[in-house]
Amino acid sequence: MRRVALLVAALVSLLVLAACGGQSGETTEVVKEVTKVVTQVVEGETVEKVVVVTATPEPTGPEPVTVNINWGTEPPTADPALSTDTTSHALIEEIFLGLTDLDPETSEAIPELALEWSANEDNTVWTFKMRDNAVWVRHVPGGETEVVTDDEGNPRVVTAQDVVYGVKRTCDPRTGSDYSYILYIIKGCEELNTADPEAENFQELYDAVGVRAVDDFTVEFELNYGAGFFPQIASMPVTFPVPRWVIEEKGDRWVEPGFIVTNGPYVIDEWVHGDRLDLVRNPHWYGWEEYADQAGNIERLHGVMIEEASTSFALYESNELDTAGVPLEQMDRVKTDPVLSKELVNNPINCTYYYGFITKKAPTDDVNVRRALSMAIDRKTLVDAVLKGGQIPANAFTNPLNFGSPAGDPEVAPWALPEEMGGWGYAKAVEEAKKLLEEAGYPDGAGLDILLMHNVSESHAKIAQAIQAMWQQAFPQATVTIETQEWRVYLKTIEKDSPLEDKPNVYRLGWCADYPHANNWVHEVFNPEEGSNRPLLSYDDPQVGDLVREFAETTKAAQTASPEEQLALYKRAEQLLVDEIAAMAPIYYYTRVAVAKPWLDRVWGEPGRMYLWQWNLDVDARNAAMGK
């Protein structure tokens, strides 16, 4: 019987959809009734119900203040422990709370769940005192947001136990978090993460992780080494408290709308995969009253998932999006246009664009080849002539916005810097590159066959072709082939453990800071043992094995060194990474090139942080501009 009902419902919704097809341009004012099949949780049972819902939750009241944005892509996950990308981060930051948050301007840790924190003398034990008024909520898609209650009917409050569970869940190998190595700083996390879940002492290892609830609202972390940046790590989704009882009941499906229990300023209202993801305000969030002076007026976020920057920008220009990124090819026009140039936001962000070299695949297994390729990239020209967004040529991996970054220091890879920044300039760098290549046995590039791979994207393709042209002009006899792959396939291809024969010689990636410290860069990305180590650095490398060992030891030593010593150590590490080992070629430091309509007053945080609750939208101004 139910099957029949479903079939009818599906047919009806098809008809309704078909009828709506013609007038999709004007969706805001009409309240449409749509028949849907909704998955609902009724007393722990999953049932599918045919219901009639309306597109606006309260047809009688005024329309909620809605901001329209583009997520850019489908967020791969809403699970804080599993997220590794900025889109997922952006979503998770809105629906979940961390112990701390990062200040949008300074990137310093500021209170969120934790009101205050302190450390012991050598920064190895951290204690966070939490607030007692953050509650878990569940949102019925298209309906109300309700506070989750426990067995006795009391509201469930976010407690220290939830934080402990969240942290241990990330370290637990059964969770399969790709980001767990961030928490290796916590005592016992690495041991647990690398243990066999079937092992006898697994429970012991689980209990031994250095995080514990002192009381309901005090949580204590024990670290392997003193880290002043730990409060910033506590702002990352991998440390977020998560609802244990939901996860244990629903397993992997706990993040699905209808099941998911959250605690942030917004909740997921509708998630149509590949199409849109809408958030609505969580009325039970403490901040609306507590931080009323900072809070904005956004009640609803309508987020589309459009991957093409040019399409998204066209929507912005037709007022369908309130804020958007600016595609490369529009830069000249945006800069000169009297209206758009005022809406343009262009400032540095904490990310680095780089090419990595697979050090085990010929011909990039030769350090001279890698250095020559890196030297022959004219970073300044690339930034000025192709990207045009005020990006900064990079000579070190660590972005200058981090502690310990030697960016712009001509003692690190001076060939990557233009003359006015104290570097060699491109002409001299190319001369040197030619010599190196001749030494390596490829005079003028003869016999050199390089495969460069990047994920599918308009701008990556342009950069890759520009660099291909630079290499081709520097080494006329060389062959440089460009290949593209879809993002997920690409990530698999360049992963450390995937088969070597599938890998390219050169791969493209970007890295954005999780917390503004060089440890998050040189150590966590390139350490041969603890980092993601995509270039496959190894101590056994016949040419640079010793340098790799020195690199690993340097970054390890920096973790426990004093701040002054750290600066020197990280500089040495960058010299090794970029110049002597040449495991990667830093290309430029990102800038944000985005636009926002004058009626939207928004916060510009680091990628993956929107601070939506602080945004303000002037609905009247927008309506006036759209001629309503």
Partner: protein, 343 residues
């Protein structure tokens, strides 16, 4: 009375003598020359062929060795001038280089790129149509000439392949061959194919893929034609004097069905050209920086408002070429059709 008859008979014989040596092909060609649009299209295509052959001196260096240099194209297609990116047509650089049709986002000369692109488009047109004509003709002939049972089986295979999603096939093929090339451990014939592919800028397997799928339509046409001819008297006569099946197929049937098949193939060529453009557009075509018109459009269409010439130049080239092939195909069809042949 007698005299008159003789004269009439004589006239007829003179006429027949005059016509001797004029094959249907010859007739069709004369007919084609009367079609002005088709002639212009044909000349345009001949010019394209000339450009494709002599855009650089690869034709000569192929035999003599040495470095290839542009002949007709002013510059190399891959040379980037980062000081002159996105420049409109007729831009002159400080050191006197002239970019007649402007430059693209890397400062590459658009004229050179669009001329080099001719090579890709024409090669696709010719190779893909030869592959599909070759396979389709033979398959259709055999199927049409064979017994009903064999014919049935062969045609059901064609029907089955028709249902096969073509795009997925091409994508799989491209992905597979690119992965093979990346592994770099191929040997023997594989290595030979991969070398060809590399030399052609990643085009080889596109030809194969396009040709290998498009013979299906050709096979059906060839079979239909064969069926209508195999009951004709001249085939009966050939069989009566003991001609082998192979001789009947290739000596008697093939020349007769060739005309309609060539016409069908000419009309399919614009499809191949746009298919290559499409494949390059979605990133499965040639490897950059080898210019193909489709690739050039896909790289620059977002800049339509800021630098319209970047997409207009390859766009116009693509449009004119497909138009020319279509017009020529139409002309050839009309020329072969006796009903349209007015004296």
């Amino acid at each position: 009375m007698t005299v008159q008859t003789t004269t009439a008979k004589k006239d007829w014989m003179v006429e027949a003598a005059k016509r001797r040596g004029r094959s249907p092909l010859h007739d069709a060609f004369r007919q084609l020359l009367k079609n002005r649009v088709a002639v212009i299209s044909g000349i345009f295509i001949l010019i394209l062929v000339f450009i494709a052959l002599f855009v650089d001196n690869a034709l000569f260096t192929f035999f003599t060795g040495g470095e290839t240099k542009p002949l007709l194209a002013p510059y190399r297609y891959g040379t980037a001038n980062f000081l002159y990116t996105d420049k409109p047509p007729l831009t002159r650089t400080e050191d006197g280089q002239l970019f007649l049709l402007g430059t693209d986002y890397l400062g590459r000369d658009l004229l050179s790129r669009v001329l080099y692109g001719t090579r890709i488009s024409l090669t696709v047109a010719i190779v893909a149509s030869l592959v599909s004509l070759g396979i389709g003709l033979v398959y259709g002939l055999i199927s049409g000439y064979s017994s009903t049972r064999v014919d049935n089986i062969m045609m059901r295979i064609v029907d089955f392949l028709y249902g096969f999603p073509f795009l997925i096939f091409v994508i799989l093929m491209q992905v597979f061959f690119k992965a093979q090339a990346r592994r770099g451990d191929a040997a023997g014939i594989w290595q030979f194919f991969l070398d060809i592919d590399k030399a052609m800028g990643g085009m080889f397997f596109i030809f194969i893929a396009i040709g290998a799928i498009n013979w299906l339509g050709m096979a059906r046409i060839a079979r239909g034609q064969t069926l209508s001819y195999k009951k004709k008297e001249f085939v009966e006569a050939a069989r009566a004097i003991g001609a082998t099946d192979r001789r009947i197929i290739f000596k008697h049937l093939l020349p007769n069905i060739l005309g309609p098949c060539i016409v069908a193939e000419t009309l399919a060529i614009p499809g191949y050209i746009s298919l290559e453009a499409f494949l390059s557009f979605i990133g499965l075509g040639v490897n950059p920086p080898t210019p193909s018109w489709g690739l050039m459009i896909s790289e620059t269409y977002q800049a339509l408002r800021t630098a319209p010439w970047e997409v207009m130049v390859p766009g116009i080239a693509l449009t004119l070429t497909t138009l020319a092939f279509n017009m020529l195909g139409d002309g050839i069809r009309d020329a072969f059709d006796p009903r349209l042949r007015g004296e």
